[in-house]
Amino acid sequence: MEFGPLDLLVVQPTPFCNLDCSYCYLPDRERTERMAVPTLEALFRWVFASDLVRAPFTVVWHAGEPMVLRPDFYEGAFAIAARHNLDGVPLVHSFQTNATLVDAVWCDFLKAHPVQVGVSVDGPAFLHDRYRVTRRGAGTHDRVMRGIRRLRDNGISFHVITVLTQDTLDYPDELYDFYIEEGIERVGFNVEEIEGPHRESSLARTETGPRFRRFLARFLDLAAEGPAPLQVRELDSMQRAIVAAGTDAPVCTEETTPFAIVSVDWQGNFSTFSPELLGLRNERYGDFSLGNVATDPFAVVATSPRLAAIRRDVADGVERCRQTCAYFRFCGGGAPVNKLCETGSFVATETLFCRLNRQAWVDVVLDRLERPRPVATPALSA
């Protein structure tokens, strides 16, 4: 099969976000529209009518703060998805939220539905409030923590995603302290990327590389050997990539495989490859919408010259990575959106995102794997 299988369906229920984080990549986050019921119907009809659904997949409600819509919106959306899922393909709904709007009604909803919850929080207040702010520039840590504690008090499982900035790199212990004290057991790290309207990253400095590696090494030591173990998403995925790199398995990633990821905006426009592409514009490619779920069947879009042009350039970029990058076996060719936003083209190789989110992780994880394990010393007598 040439496309897919669909692994991740990113749905934008609304472009609006009640926060205004300074590193955000979303261009229209002040718009308050919401996905209409006919669009939801068209979306899931389109998904299940395509031949992309060949395995279990995840629907993540994101790209705007999903909880600005109330739970009844999602009650309806989940029912629509189930109604179109005639073969009963296992699908998991997931929210990526800033948690500021979690209330008792949300907790009841999350307890009643098998939903995965990811909370965006950048650690203790002195780190979080530097970037994750309201439109008036006020910190949001207090409100996020109130939401996190509500989730915890209601026994709702969640993971967190933390964006690493230049400011974070001196504070691995403080970050670890924060997770432990808040009962957080699973974390994922994003880096502050150059994406969309966010044209500069605090991490784009020459001295960042060594500091970033030093931060990771220290944090992973704590996560593995500290008093409370932490599961780190990137450590797990990088260990899998390292194991796979020693085999003949083909190297590919979701972001470079057409229709492994499908992103749909609130109006029903859809795109593929990196989710952040939807809503961006570029001189060379225009926007990245490949059609609308209400009007453009997958079979038609799959043969469109527009998709073919983007696909060819993404593949050329991956091929250049294969030929030039020592980390290719661990990475599979990077993220198209980062290549585009940092170099202006998909036909590109190394980016800031690659250097930090791929190369640094490979180096640090390999170093840990190759490090001699300490020999247990016999207990001293009292």
């Binding site: 001196d170 691995p172 212990d173 670890y176 302290d177 432990i180 500290g226 001293l380």
Partner: protein, 189 residues
């Protein structure tokens, strides 16, 4: 300071520092004056918890090594070999002998307890606090810094004398000190 029996003790009438005195705590001491130049630090909560979890067990070496690793990550210029000691002192004392003449001067002190600790500092040379020299300088101010649980001080090597002061405490004072080691290490080559 005041004479108590044969020794000198800090007085109890503490007052807030003047602007000039405060300037000596940072790098703004006037020429010719030995700056106190201390740096505040805080160890992570997990590390302080580790101390209490292992205080009765055999995990002290691991704890000490974790403390050094943390401080080195923070780029404190610690020597390759350090001595780490945890001093437990009873309340209501005007000195706890953190800085003993027979040992190297502390580089770092950290409050491991659950209650605030106080560290007293002087930038007078030790000879100035004895005999007639003292009589000439008995009103010379000492500095007292309050350290909440987990907080500490780092002293660059600049001749500052420090000690603990537990007069206002209700619980045992638990202070970690790090000194350069005086151990002689054989050349492995």
């Amino acid at each position: 300071m005041e004479r108590v029996d044969a020794g000198l003790d800090p007085r109890v009438d503490w007052r807030p520092p003047t602007a000039d005195e405060l300037s000596m705590l940072v790098d703004e001491a006037p020429p010719g004056v030995n700056p106190l130049r201390t740096n505040l630090l805080a160890i992570p909560a997990w590390l302080r918890t580790a101390w209490w979890d292992h205080v009765d067990q055999t995990g002290y070496e691991r704890f000490a090594s974790d403390v050094l690793e943390f401080l080195r990550f923070k780029d404190l210029p610690l020597p390759a070999l350090c001595e780490i000691e945890v001093a437990v002192s009873r309340p209501d004392q005007t000195r706890t002998r953190l800085h003993e003449a027979t040992k190297a001067a502390p580089l770092v002190v950290v409050n491991l307890g659950d209650e605030a600790s106080h560290i007293i500092m002087s930038n007078l040379p030790p000879a100035a606090t004895t005999g007639r020299s003292y009589d000439a300088r008995s009103t010379y101010p000492l500095m007292r810094i309050r350290l909440d649980p987990g907080e500490g001080l780092w002293f660059p090597p600049c001749g500052v004398i420090c000690d603990g002061w537990t007069r206002e405490k209700r619980e045992l004072d638990v202070v970690l000190t790090i000194r350069p080691s005086r151990a002689v290490v054989a050349n492995p080559v």
